[in-house]
């Protein structure tokens, strides 16, 4: 599981360098995300620009990551590709997560937090 982690504007931005978050990698994704978000940043933005496919296992994994952050920390999503956006929309999970069209810049992250 290839994740790139960047601290930006007080938030943690995690870019998933994988083409797919599916049943084959859902567990590895959860574990890698737990490691990547072990710090204390209250806000984590998951950049999904490279992810062209996400199935129900992948969706469950994203929910699991959000729950694992716990109260007081937030998981937000950014840059969903159309196929991934469709899964969030059909399951109405797009109402649960804040979804940004693109990863906000540092100033926006600092002020909109």
């Amino acid at each position: 599981m290839n994740l790139a982690v960047e601290r930006r504007g007080g938030a943690l931005v995690v870019r998933v360098h994988e083409a797919r978050i599916d049943a084959a990698v859902a567990v590895a994704f959860k574990e890698a995300m737990r490691g990547a978000t072990a710090g204390a940043e209250p806000r984590v933005v998951l950049d999904l620009a490279d992810v062209g496919f996400l199935d129900s296992s992948g969706l469950g994994a994203v929910v699991s990551v959000m729950k694992h952050l716990g109260a007081g920390r937030r998981l937000e999503l950014a840059a969903l590709t159309p196929a991934v956006e469709k899964v969030f929309r059909l399951t109405r999970m797009d109402r649960v997560f804040v979804i940004h069209p693109a990863v906000p810049d540092a100033a926006a992250l600092r002020h909109a937090g």
Binding site: R20, A24, V63, A83
Partner: protein, 175 residues
């Protein structure tokens, strides 16, 4: 050139298909797009999906339609790996035919039957709950039911057979 010929063949193939029943059970006249057998293992599913999507290429489907098809097939195949073959190994056979306005898919495995011999209802998960109670699973059957038509399940001797239609949308057609 080969792709052009295939596209032409696929378009011609739609003519006889339109004269047949367009249900998922219509095996006779509907042209076969793909038939493949894979081991019922997680690692084999990605390859099966890639081959399925490649087989659809001549149909010139919209990106949205391709995404729906891949998602449905992923959910169906992963369910079989995870549940039907939870306690044993065995093959999965996938057949895709071109019906009039849909892909007619049939998936067979030789694993455990579905619980109580029925497909799960696939109700939409409740999301009006505290974050810590949000579901991490149970989306699969909801997506399958949402994106297919004529979904049917038969337990036949020692095997499961799931048939369904995925509505087709050509590139350039509005959703």
């Amino acid at each position: 050139m080969r792709a052009d010929r295939m596209a032409l063949a696929a378009r011609r193939a739609m003519v006889p298909a339109s004269a047949t029943e367009s249900g998922a059970g219509a095996q006779g006249g509907a042209p076969l797009l793909l038939e493949l057998t894979i081991p019922g293992e997680e690692a084999a599913v990605r390859g099966a999906l890639a081959r399925s999507i490649a087989a659809l290429e001549p149909l010139d489907l919209s990106a949205d339609c391709r995404a729906s098809t891949e998602l449905v097939l992923a959910e169906v195949l992963n369910n079989i790996v995870e549940h039907a073959y939870a306690r044993s190994d065995g093959p999965i056979t996938l057949e895709m035919r071109l019906a009039e306005d849909a892909l007619a898919c049939a998936v067979r495995d030789h694993g455990l039957p579905m619980p109580a011999g029925r497909m799960p209802r696939g109700a939409r998960a409740r999301l009006d709950v505290p974050d810590e109670d949000l579901p991490e699973g149970g989306f699969g059957w909801f997506l399958i039911r949402r994106l297919t038509r004529n979904l049917a399940y038969v337990r036949d001797g020692g095997s499961n057979r799931l048939t369904f239609l995925v509505p087709l949308e050509r590139a350039g057609q509005s959703p």
